[in-house]
């Protein structure tokens, strides 16, 4: 029988299925994209009208038209800065231990398994932990400190995982070069490995913080107040954050408050966008440095 390169009937049918599948797949992706578009469009339509300088710089009010979001912005920034200050050193130190010291020891493997599991624990469970540990056992009350501690524990697994990833990108030749000059293990890590891994570490940190800043449930659980007419002035003061303020407004029946919620969402999304852009800038900046 001679070779025929023409499509047979059955193969044409199969090829048609191939095309049908691709169309279906694209339809799914377009639908997901449309969902995202609808979400943003919905929020923009409801909230853009409420966005103003006054909205950003005034305190909440029982009257929707006069309510602002200043206290929640300051609260969010306070909490996130403190979260970073706690999660970064502990997360990087854990990652350095697991990647550079722990090796394949049983302890290290146990810690790794533990971190992998923590990464998938629902955030509201961290809230219950924060309530039992920070708010009550350690007597921190419903303070910025308790909220940041809770979010730091929540962010820790991601910071550790992304730091380990960054440490792994440092070539072993750099480590060997340092050892060969009589550097100790820690000198090698501190002077050579960490600086090289820094962009990756910071990118991971910012991304995990941008997740933490949108977290609502754990902070509600530890009792962050939904209505406070002031901005926090110390780590021990009561606070609220953007997502909680949004939730508070969403839960009210009046349409005017829903508009406030939408405007609050726009502020939150803008903050997230800024953080993600920052992550990209940090990565690019460091990558260019030290390279020809």
């Amino acid at each position: 029988m001679a070779v025929s390169l023409k499509a047979s009937r059955s193969s044409a049918g199969r090829r048609r299925m191939d095309v049908v599948f691709q169309v279906a797949a694209l339809a799914v992706l377009v639908a997901a994209l449309a969902g995202l578009g609808a979400l943003i469009g919905d929020v923009w339509r409801d909230g853009a009208g409420r966005l103003s300088w006054t909205f950003l710089t005034t305190f909440p009010s029982r009257r929707a038209e006069q309510a602002g979001i200043y206290h929640a912005i300051v609260g969010s920034l306070y909490v996130i800065a403190l979260t970073a200050a706690m999660a970064l050193p502990i997360g990087v130190a854990s990652a350095v231990y697991l990647e550079e010291y722990g090796g394949r020891s049983r302890t290290a493997r146990f810690i790794e398994l533990n971190i992998a599991n923590l990464a998938a624990v629902p955030s509201i469970i961290y809230g219950l932990l924060g309530l039992g540990l920070f708010v009550r056992a350690l007597g921190m009350g419903r303070s910025v400190m308790a909220g940041a501690g809770t979010l730091a524990l929540l962010a820790l697994p991601v910071v550790i995982l992304s730091t380990r990833e960054a440490l792994r990108t440092v070539p072993s030749t750099i480590r060997e070069g340092s050892y060969a000059l009589g550097a100790t293990k820690w000198q090698t890590i501190w002077h050579q490995v960490l600086p090289m891994a820094l962009p990756g570490i910071l990118t991971g940190l910012i991304l995990s913080l941008s997740r933490a800043i949108g977290e609502t449930a754990p902070l509600i659980t530890i009792g962050a107040l939904t209505y406070i007419p002031f901005a926090p002035d110390s780590v021990w003061s009561a606070f609220t954050v953007l997502p909680i303020q949004i939730f508070n407004w969403v839960s009210r029946p009046q349409v005017a408050f829903k508009e406030n919620a939408a405007a609050g969402i726009l502020v939150l999304l803008a903050l997230l966008l800024t953080m993600n852009a920052l992550a990209i800038v940090v990565r690019d900046r460091f990558q260019r440095k030290g390279r020809p």
Partner: protein, 277 residues
């Protein structure tokens, strides 16, 4: 345990054992006795014994995978960082056991410098690359002293004239040959006794290679140099002694001219004349 390796021709091992070439006046710097090395279960080096002389250049030759680089890295305990690596036997440096209890690996490496096959400058400035070893080992007290030692090292590595005007530029902007000489300068800065070079010119073009070879020749009055190379002409050009490795064993060790002109082993002769490997 010997099952990993084919047996050598009879009588050879005893010939190699303690193989001290005759008529050498220089003192022994490094003395290796019955060294075995394992990666996990796999034996990579088998019963190596040899004496390396001070202020001489000793070349290790042999086909890839013969263990010459592994052996070099046992001399400054660089293999310690590989998980599952294990050493038996002894390495003595100026009469002290390098693997003995209480030996500080860090100060050992300070005295046995190393240059790697692929140049590995740190992603910092040229100056900082050389200054790093001086700083971490607290070898200098003042800024002026630091600058002087950096200059001295860069001069010793014959790269000063090329970089003196751009010491603060990134080391990664240098050419491959310059990077390798910078790595040599970096190793020289902490004034080691012994300099280990693992195929330092394998990634370089002929002109850069020639500069490295000239440098090796100049450096031997101050240092004991051990150089691994897969290039036999290079071994013949730069070294006083040559050791030939084959499948994890030291086959023959002697004066370079003798190894290349009148080797006593058939295997060596076959290798240096290009009939095998």
């Amino acid at each position: 345990m010997n099952t990993d390796l084919p047996t050598l021709p009879p009588g050879l091992s005893s010939l190699v054992r303690g193989g001290a070439p005759a008529a050498e006046t220089a003192p022994v710097k490094l003395d290796v006795r019955d060294l075995n090395f394992y990666y996990g279960e796999k034996r990579a080096l088998d019963g190596i014994s040899m004496a390396i002389y001070a202020h001489r250049v000793t070349a290790f030759i042999g086909p890839s995978g013969c263990g010459k680089s592994t052996f070099l890295r046992t001399l400054n305990r660089m293999n310690d960082i590989i998980p599952g690596a294990r050493v038996e036997g002894s390495v003595t440096i100026d009469g002290q056991d390098a693997y003995g209890p209480g030996v500080d690996v860090v100060s050992l490496r300070r005295q046995v410098g190393m240059v790697f096959q692929k140049s590995n400058p740190f992603p910092k400035s040229i100056f900082e690359n050389v200054a790093y070893g001086l700083r971490i080992n607290n070898l200098v007290q003042t800024k002026a002293e630091l600058a002087a030692r950096v200059e001295e090292s860069l001069r010793a590595a014959a790269i000063w004239d090329e970089v003196k005007d751009r010491l603060n530029d990134s080391a990664l902007a240098l050419s491959g040959g310059q990077q390798q000489r910078l790595c040599i300068a970096r190793a020289l800065a902490i004034r080691p006794d012994i300099l280990l070079m693992d195929e330092p010119a394998s990634a370089l073009d002929p002109i850069a290679t020639q500069r490295i070879e000239e440098l090796v020749y100049d450096l031997k009055k101050d240092y004991t140099i051990v150089i691994v190379t897969h290039n036999m002409q290079q071994a013949a050009r730069v070294s006083d002694y040559t050791a030939f490795f084959w499948l994890g064993r030291l086959v023959e060790y002697g004066r370079t001219d003798k190894i290349f002109t009148a080797p006593s082993e058939k295997l060596t002769e076959d290798y240096v004349t290009g009939r095998c490997g």
